[in-house]
C-alpha cells in the first residue's frame, strides 16, 4: 500500500509540546512535536465533544505514555495509538509523521 506524504510546515515552525492543526484534503490532523523532537499526528476531532480541537490540548505523559489532553473536558489520548485512556473503546485515527530536510510530512490515506 503506497503511502503519499504531504509536507505541512517546517519543523522549527512548531513549538515543542504545543500542537498545530493541518488540513489534508478534508482530513483535519493535529500534529505534535515533543520535547525530544519526536513527531506524532492524530485526528484533530475530539470524539467526545465533537469539536475539532485536539491540536489545542496540553501535551504530557501519563505514566510512560505520551498523551494529549482534550481542551474540552481533559480526557487523555495516547499519541502513539490514538486510544482514549479515560473512556474505553473511544479513540482517534493516527497518521504516520516524519521530518525530511527540516519539513514535517504527514501521510493520510
Amino acid at each position: 500500500m503506497t503511502v503519499t506524504w504531504t509536507a505541512i510546515c517546517r519543523l522549527d515552525h512548531l513549538l515543542p509540546e504545543r500542537g498545530a492543526a493541518a488540513l489534508l484534503g478534508d482530513t483535519q490532523v493535529a500534529v505534535f512535536r515533543l520535547h525530544d523532537d519526536q513527531l506524532y499526528a492524530i485526528g484533530n476531532g475530539d470524539p467526545l465533544s465533537g469539536a475539532q480541537v485536539l491540536s489545542r490540548g496540553i501535551v504530557g505523559t501519563r505514566g510512560e505514555v505520551p498523551v494529549v489532553l482534550s481542551p474540552m473536558h481533559k480526557q487523555a489520548f495516547d499519541l502513539r495509538t490514538g486510544a482514549c485512556l479515560d473512556v474505553p473503546g473511544v479513540g482517534v485515527p493516527v497518521y504516520p509523521a516524519r521530518c525530511r530536510d527540516g519539513l514535517i510530512e504527514v501521510a493520510v490515506p
Binding site: 504531504t6 509536507a7 505541512i8 510546515c9 515552525h13 512548531l14 513549538l15 515543542p16 509540546e17 504545543r18 498545530a20 492543526a21 493541518a22 488540513l23 489534508l24 478534508d26 483535519q28 500534529v31 515533543l34 520535547h35 476531532g45 467526545l48 465533544s49 465533537g50 469539536a51 475539532q52 480541537v53 489545542r56 496540553i58 501535551v59 504530557g60 505523559t61 501519563r62 505514566g63 505520551p66 498523551v67 489532553l69 481542551p71 474540552m72 473536558h73 481533559k74 480526557q75 487523555a76 479515560d86 473512556v87
Partner: protein, 798 residues
C-alpha cells in the same frame, strides 16, 4: 403464555419494559390495550408542552417495540370477563393467562353546575392540552379550580397561553395536602408575584359564577376502577382496584399497578410508587416473589418558578418551622415526639437541603434546621444515601464503596463512580469524604510532582526557576499533564515570567489561556474586552457593537458588568483584537485564572444614597490588579453604601462604603457552596484599604492550593490568622508582599497588544498551519432570537 395489559400510560409503559427486561426467553406474549391514540408520554412534564416541547419529545416509548409485544392504540378495553379469562374491546376478545390493569386515574370534576360547558376542561392528557390551547386562543381570562400541585401547574400553563389567571381553591390555602397554613401563605405570595390571583376558602357552585373564558378543573384525581367494579373485582374504600402488597388483585392472575391500584386500600398519585409497583408485578410474572415496600412519597418540583419539596410524613407529633417571608423561604421538619427522629417535612422557596433531608428520613436530624437552610447541605455527617454528585446521581455510599475497594484518590474515584466527571463542582466534597474515610491524602499536585502548589511556588521563587523543563528536571518526573502545566504556568506568571505565550510557556497554557480567549463547545472562542467597574463611554459601546456586527458575533452582557462576544474563529481573534485595541480596549482576562472584574454601583457620583465614590475606587482597583494570575479566578466588587447593590459580599474581596471610609470583606463566593464574604477590617482609608488588599491577594497567590478559591482558603486559614498576617505582619512578609504587588502593577502589559505586536505569536493564530486561509469547515451557525448561535450537529457533552 398470553398477557393482556390495559393502559399504556407512564406506569403501563414502565411495566412492559420491566417485564421485557426480565422475561428473557419470551415466555409472555403481550397485548397492550391503550385508550389514548399515542404511546406513553411524560405526564410529569406535561406543562412543558406549552413551553415549546413537542409531543414527540415527551414520549416515553423507546423506538421499536419489545419482541412479542403489540400495542393497540385507541382500542380501549370495555369489559373484563373473569370467569372466561377474557378482555373485550369494541371489536375483539383477548383471552389472557395474566391480566395487568394500568388504567391510571381521571381528573376529578367537583359537582358544579355547567361543569360540562364547552369552555370547561380538565388537565390530564395531551388531548386536554390541545383542546385548552385551541380554546384559549384570543381569549382573555382563565380560572383554575383547584390549588394543589396540578392546579398550580395548570395555572402556569394558562399564564403561558397569555391569559389573566385566577386560582380558586376551596381549602383555606394552596397545596393543602403538602403544605401547612404558613407554607401556603408564602406560596400564595410567590404565586401572586407572577400576577396570578388566588382565592382560597371558596367553593365553586356554578361555572357561570366564575365568569371566565376558560375553566380548568385540577381538583384532584380519582382512580379509574370502572372496569374492575363492572367485572366484580374488589375495590378500595376510596376507589381503586384493591390489591395486596404484591399488587395482586382479588381474582387469580389479575394485577393492578399505578394510580388505579389501591395497595391495601391506599391509592398513590405519584409516579415513583407506580414504577415500584410495575417492577414488583414484572418480577412476580417471571418467577419472583418481591413485594412493594412502603412507597417513598417524596417529591421535588418547580411550580411557577417556586421550588417545592416534600418528603416522608407531612404531619407528626413535633414540628420545627423556618419561615422567612422576606426571602420567600419556608421549611417545616416533622420530628418524633422525642425530637430524635426525622419523620418528614416540607420545603418551599429553597429546596437545596432536600437531598440531605430526604436521605435522613427515619434517622437522626443531619443538622439544625437553621444551619441546613443557611448552608443548604451539611456535608459533614452526610447520611450514606445522600447524593454527592448530581450530574451522575452518585451517592455517598457509592463513593465509600469505591474507596473501600481501593480507589483512594480523586482520579480513581472519578474513574470508578463517574462522580466529579460532570461539572466537577463536587470534587471538594469528594476530598472531604476521603478525609472522613481516614485516607491520608497526599498533597502532591499530580503524578509528575510530589509537591503541593504552594511548595512548588516557593521552589520556583527561591531557586529562580524560569521554565517548566527546568522545574520538572529538578524536582519532577515525566512531561506533565493538565494539572501541573497550568499550575506551573500560573506560578511563573505570578512571579513575573513575562508574556504567557512567550517561549516554552506557550505550551503550558490551559484551554482558554492557550489562545487568550474562552473556548466554546463548537471550537470557536468568546472575546471579552476590559470594562473597568462596568463604566463605559458611548463611543466605546459603539465600537463593541460595530466589531460584533462586522465579524457576525453573538453579544451578551456578562455577570461581571461587561460585554462578551461569541462565535469568533481562532484565526479571526487577531483582527478582532486589532480593532478593539486601536479603540482603546485591552484584554479583560476572562480566559485566565486571574482577576476578572471589580464590579461597582454608581455610588456617591450619582446615587442619592451613595456615601463614597465606589466607581472611582472600583476602576482604580481593577486597573491595579488587572492581569494578576492566581490559583483561581478572582472576582471583586465595590458598593457605595450598605444597600450593597454591587453584591460585594459574593466576591473574593468585596468593599462596602461607610461614612468613615471602607469596610473590607473577604472570601465570598457563588458556585457549589455559596458563601457571603466575612468582614475582615472596617472603616479603612483608601490607602490602607489598597495596602491590605495588596497583601490579601499576594498572600493568596503564594499559599492557596491549585484551583482553590479564596472562600475555601480563607475558611482554612481563619480570619484572625489572616488579619494577623496582613495587618500585624505576624509572619514578617508584609514588605515582601507589598514589593511583589508593586512589581506586578509596574510591569503590567496588555497581553493582546503584545500578541499583535509579535509576528511569532501572531503566526499561531491560524486555522491550519498549511491552509491558513481555510476556516474549520465543521463550524457553522444558525440564528436564534436574531443572533448567530452554533449549529449543534457537533459539540454535545459526553
Amino acid at each position: 403464555m398470553r398477557l393482556v395489559v390495559i393502559g399504556n400510560g407512564m406506569v403501563g409503559q414502565r411495566f412492559v419494559e420491566a417485564l421485557a427486561a426480565r422475561d428473557v426467553d419470551r415466555g409472555w406474549s403481550v397485548t397492550v390495550l391503550a385508550e389514548e391514540s399515542r404511546r406513553a408520554y411524560d405526564r410529569v412534564r406535561l406543562s412543558a408542552y406549552f413551553e415549546g416541547v413537542t409531543a414527540e419529545e415527551l414520549t416515553l416509548a423507546p423506538p421499536g417495540v419489545p419482541t412479542g409485544t403489540e400495542f393497540l392504540l385507541g382500542e380501549p378495553a370495555v369489559a373484563v370477563d373473569l370467569a372466561e379469562r377474557v378482555v373485550r374491546t369494541a371489536h375483539e376478545a383477548y383471552p389472557y393467562d395474566a391480566l395487568v390493569l394500568a388504567t391510571g386515574s381521571r381528573a376529578f370534576v367537583p359537582p358544579v353546575a355547567n361543569a360540562d360547558a364547552p369552555h370547561c376542561f380538565v388537565y390530564r392528557t395531551l388531548d386536554d392540552l390541545d383542546a385548552i390551547r385551541a380554546h384559549a386562543a384570543g381569549q382573555r381570562t382563565g380560572v383554575v379550580v383547584g390549588g394543589g400541585l396540578l392546579g398550580l401547574e395548570a395555572a402556569n400553563a394558562l399564564r403561558l397561553l397569555g391569559l389573566d389567571v385566577r386560582i380558586v381553591e376551596h381549602a383555606p390555602h394552596l397545596m393543602p395536602l403538602q403544605v401547612d397554613v404558613a407554607g401556603g401563605a408564602l406560596l400564595r405570595r410567590r404565586v401572586r408575584a407572577l400576577d396570578i390571583a388566588v382565592d382560597c376558602g371558596e367553593g365553586v357552585r356554578d361555572v357561570a359564577d366564575l365568569d371566565a373564558d376558560v375553566v380548568v378543573f385540577a381538583a384532584g384525581i380519582r382512580a379509574r376502577d370502572e372496569l374492575a367494579r363492572a367485572s366484580g373485582l374488589a375495590v378500595g374504600p376510596r376507589g381503586g382496584v384493591l390489591v395486596d402488597s404484591s399488587c395482586r388483585a382479588s381474582a387469580p392472575d389479575v394485577w393492578a399497578v399505578g394510580e388505579c391500584a389501591a395497595v391495601d386500600g391506599v391509592t398513590y398519585g405519584l409516579v415513583a410508587p407506580g414504577y415500584a409497583m410495575a417492577e414488583v408485578v414484572a418480577d412476580r410474572l417471571t418467577g419472583g416473589d418481591s413485594t412493594l415496600d412502603t412507597p417513598d412519597m417524596s417529591t421535588k418540583l418547580k411550580l411557577l418558578g417556586v421550588d417545592v419539596a416534600s418528603f416522608g410524613a407531612l404531619t407528626g407529633p413535633l414540628d420545627v418551622v423556618y419561615n422567612d417571608p422576606a426571602t420567600g423561604v419556608y421549611a417545616k421538619l416533622v420530628l418524633s415526639d422525642d425530637a430524635q427522629t426525622l419523620l418528614g417535612g416540607i420545603l418551599v422557596g429553597d429546596a437545596s437541603a432536600y437531598p440531605t433531608l430526604r436521605a435522613s428520613v427515619g434517622g437522626p436530624l443531619p443538622g439544625t434546621l437553621a444551619d441546613l437552610m443557611a448552608s443548604g447541605a451539611a456535608p459533614v455527617g452526610l447520611p450514606d444515601s445522600a447524593q454527592v454528585c448530581s450530574c451522575h446521581a452518585v451517592t455517598k455510599s457509592d463513593v465509600l464503596d469505591a474507596v473501600a475497594c481501593g480507589h483512594t484518590d480523586i482520579p480513581a474515584i472519578k474513574a470508578c463512580t463517574k462522580a466529579g466527571t460532570g461539572c466537577g463542582s463536587c470534587v471538594p466534597l469528594l476530598r472531604s469524604l476521603l478525609a472522613e474515610a481516614g485516607i491520608a491524602q497526599s498533597t502532591a499536585l499530580c503524578e509528575h510532582f510530589g509537591y503541593s502548589r504552594q511548595e512548588l511556588f516557593d521552589i520556583v521563587r527561591v531557586r529562580g526557576i524560569r521554565t517548566y523543563s527546568e522545574l520538572v528536571g529538578a524536582v519532577g518526573t515525566g512531561r506533565g499533564c493538565d494539572l501541573c502545566k497550568p499550575a506551573v504556568a500560573s506560578i511563573l506568571a505570578s512571579l513575573g515570567g513575562g508574556h504567557i505565550l512567550d517561549g516554552e510557556q506557550a505550551a503550558l497554557q490551559d484551554t482558554n489561556d492557550h489562545f487568550l480567549a474562552n473556548l466554546q463547545k463548537d471550537g470557536t472562542y468568546s472575546v471579552v474586552p476590559r470594562v473597568p467597574a462596568g463604566e463605559i463611554t458611548p463611543e466605546k459601546l459603539i465600537v463593541i457593537g460595530e466589531v460584533a456586527r462586522d465579524f457576525g458575533l453573538y453579544t451578551k452582557i456578562t455577570g461581571g458588568q461587561r460585554v462578551d462576544l461569541f462565535g469568533a474563529r481562532v484565526e479571526q481573534l487577531p483582527a478582532i483584537w486589532r480593532r478593539l485595541v486601536d479603540a482603546g480596549f485591552e484584554s479583560g482576562h476572562a480566559y485566565g485564572k486571574a482577576l476578572r472584574t471589580v464590579k461597582s454601583c454608581v455610588g456617591d457620583t450619582w446615587c442619592r444614597y451613595g456615601v463614597q465614590d465606589s466607581v472611582g475606587l472600583a476602576v482604580a482597583l481593577e486597573l491595579r490588579y488587572r492581569g494578576l494570575r492566581a490559583p483561581h479566578k478572582i472576582k471583586a466588587a465595590v458598593s457605595g453604601c450598605a444597600r450593597e447593590c454591587a453584591e460585594a459580599r459574593g466576591k473574593d474581596f468585596g468593599i462596602i462604603a461607610t461614612e468613615n471610609g471602607w469596610n473590607l470583606y473577604v472570601g465570598g463566593n457563588g458556585g457549589f457552596t455559596p458563601r457571603h464574604a466575612d468582614l475582615l477590617l472596617s472603616d479603612l482609608s483608601t490607602t490602607d484599604l489598597v495596602t491590605y488588599v495588596d497583601r490579601f491577594l499576594m498572600f493568596y497567590v503564594r499559599t492557596a492550593d491549585r484551583l482553590q478559591r479564596t472562600s475555601v482558603w480563607v475558611g482554612n486559614l481563619g480570619l484572625d490568622y489572616l488579619r494577623a498576617v496582613i495587618v500585624d505582619d505576624s509572619l514578617g512578609l508584609a514588605a515582601d508582599l507589598d514589593a511583589a504587588m508593586a512589581q506586578h502593577v509596574d510591569g503590567y502589559v496588555d497581553e493582546w497588544r503584545a500578541v499583535l505586536d509579535d509576528p511569532v505569536k501572531l503566526r499561531r493564530f491560524v486555522s491550519f498551519v498549511n491552509a491558513p486561509d481555510t476556516p474549520d469547515p465543521t463550524i457553522s451557525f444558525t440564528v436564534e432570537r436574531g443572533q448567530p448561535v452554533p449549529l449543534l450537529s457537533i459539540g454535545t457533552r459526553p
